[in-house]
């Protein structure tokens, strides 16, 4: 990756289409790539070994001090559960792809999208409780009220939650969490902790 000290403003013509692929912060028009935000120009080379003929570098415009998080299909969303019903779970998305949103937006996880197996026998209230912090993936823009989210992956689900007694729950399996204060076991759809997170925890202890 090569970062440059070249600055551009929206509308600046960067290069013709056949020399590079348009990345974030750029758009294509009339066989040319133009900048669509103000920032520094960055060229990323595509890994030569990774198959196909597309060896053009990716040109993108990066803004260091301020980047805009926009909910889009396929991105990871951090959300807080607000309401659990028998058919779906309502939540408030407060961050997208590790970037906080200025204003939270509404999301919804339907019963069928909670687990990847035994979808029909899922009971929402044994998977999520209000105030749980959940990592989910946006699968559709949904209707006018909410984005459609899914936790049907093993690394998606509840990241952190509090028990009835108020203790911070500790995950003990993929569907159970234990309260350290009362030793009661509560059911949850637990997210498989990523490797980098466990490394971080082991460093702390």
């Amino acid at each position: 990756m090569s970062s440059s000290e070249y600055y551009c403003v929206p509308g600046d013509r960067l290069c013709p289409c056949d020399r590079a692929t348009a990345g974030p912060g750029t758009y294509e028009k009339q066989n040319c790539i133009y900048a669509s935000i103000a920032g520094t120009i960055q060229l990323t080379t595509v890994d030569q070994s990774s198959n196909n003929s597309d060896k053009k570098p990716i040109i993108s415009v990066i803004r260091q001090d301020r980047s805009l998080a926009v909910p889009s299909v396929g991105s990871l969303a951090y959300c807080k559960i607000t309401n659990v019903t028998s058919r779906f779970v309502r939540c408030l998305v407060f961050a997208i792809n590790n970037q906080p949103l200025k204003t939270p937006c509404h999301g919804r996880i339907t019963r069928e999208n909670i687990e990847s197996i035994n979808k029909d026998s899922v009971v929402c209230s044994t998977k999520f409780r209000p105030d749980d912090i959940v990592l989910a993936r946006i699968i559709a823009l949904g209707d006018a009220n909410a984005y459609l989210l899914s936790t049907a992956e093993e690394n998606l689900g509840v990241i952190t939650a509090r028990s009835v007694a108020g203790g911070k729950l500790i995950p003990i399996s993929d569907c159970q969490m234990k309260c350290p204060m009362t030793n009661t076991v509560e059911p949850r759809k637990v997210a498989k902790i990523q490797a980098d997170l466990t490394d971080e925890v082991s460093k702390l202890t």
Partner: protein, 258 residues
């Protein structure tokens, strides 16, 4: 890694151009554009970059002659509208307010009617602003959301108001990091009793809209258009310079903090 041969140095658009130069060319007219203010608090211990309006995503202040305008951008945020159009595209919500002391005659804040009066001047300006900006925003990048543009007119000299409003909105949109096809610049020309405003996208060489109040022959309109396009290009250079110098100072600040 080398950059492509045809890659332009964007700085070539902004070389050797001081705002004072514009002052000379622009027929004794002051142009002052500001995107962000940098506050240096408590000596050297804490340095922070601050926008003009801190709560907003992007903000700007524009001074054209005696006309002074501030603009704040909020969003893109979740829209409350449920129309089909808002589902695939972003909505633009504009609001323009005059300060009580903006004009020669003071507006009594108590006597201003805030109900939806369709033919009041503010809503007229709002619709013109939307007309000028809609062609330049990549609306499809922000589905199900809306962008709020809030403009305060601090002072109005009767000539540059519309162009100042459009310029401030453009600079604030750039500041808010919202994707644009091009930077829209606008120039108002006043002759006798007619007012001509042209909104121009310099890199695409497209006119986004023209407003004209008064009477003129087609030839005269052509002349006005040519003159406005020339002045728009100068304003565009000024905007580029402000935006890039702001980016540079932000980058320098980041380096200091790290």
């Amino acid at each position: 890694m080398e950059q492509p041969d045809e890659c332009f140095d964007p700085l070539q658009f902004a070389v050797d151009l001081n705002l004072s130069d514009i002052k000379n060319v622009n027929l004794d007219e002051n142009v002052f554009i500001s995107k962000g203010l940098i506050n240096q608090a408590n000596g050297s211990s804490s340095i922070e970059s601050k926008s003009l309006i801190t709560q907003a995503n992007g903000s700007s202040f524009i001074e054209l002659s005696a006309t002074k305008v501030t603009c704040a951008i909020y969003g893109p945020r979740e829209t409350s509208s449920t129309s089909d159009e808002s589902y695939s595209k972003c909505l633009l919500e504009t609001s323009i307010k005059f300060s009580p002391f903006a004009r020669q005659h003071r507006i009594d804040p108590l006597s201003v009617q805030y109900d939806n009066d369709e033919d009041c001047e503010e809503s007229e300006l709002c619709s013109r602003l939307e007309e000028a900006l809609l062609p330049c925003i990549l609306l499809h990048k922000y589905p199900k959301s809306q962008i709020d543009i809030i403009i305060d007119v601090i002072e109005d000299d009767g000539q540059h108001l519309l162009s100042a409003i459009i310029l401030s909105a453009t600079v604030a949109l750039i500041d808010a990091c919202i994707e644009l096809y091009d930077t829209v610049v606008a120039k108002s020309l006043k002759t006798n009793d007619s007012l001509f405003t042209l909104c121009y996208m310099p890199n695409l060489a497209q006119v986004s809209c023209i407003f004209f109040d008064g009477e003129a022959t087609p030839n005269y309109l052509d002349e006005l258009t040519d003159e406005a396009v020339k002045q728009c290009q100068l304003l565009h250079k000024a905007i580029c310079k402000v935006v890039i110098s702001d980016l540079k100072s932000a980058a320098a600040l980041n380096r200091k903090i790290v």
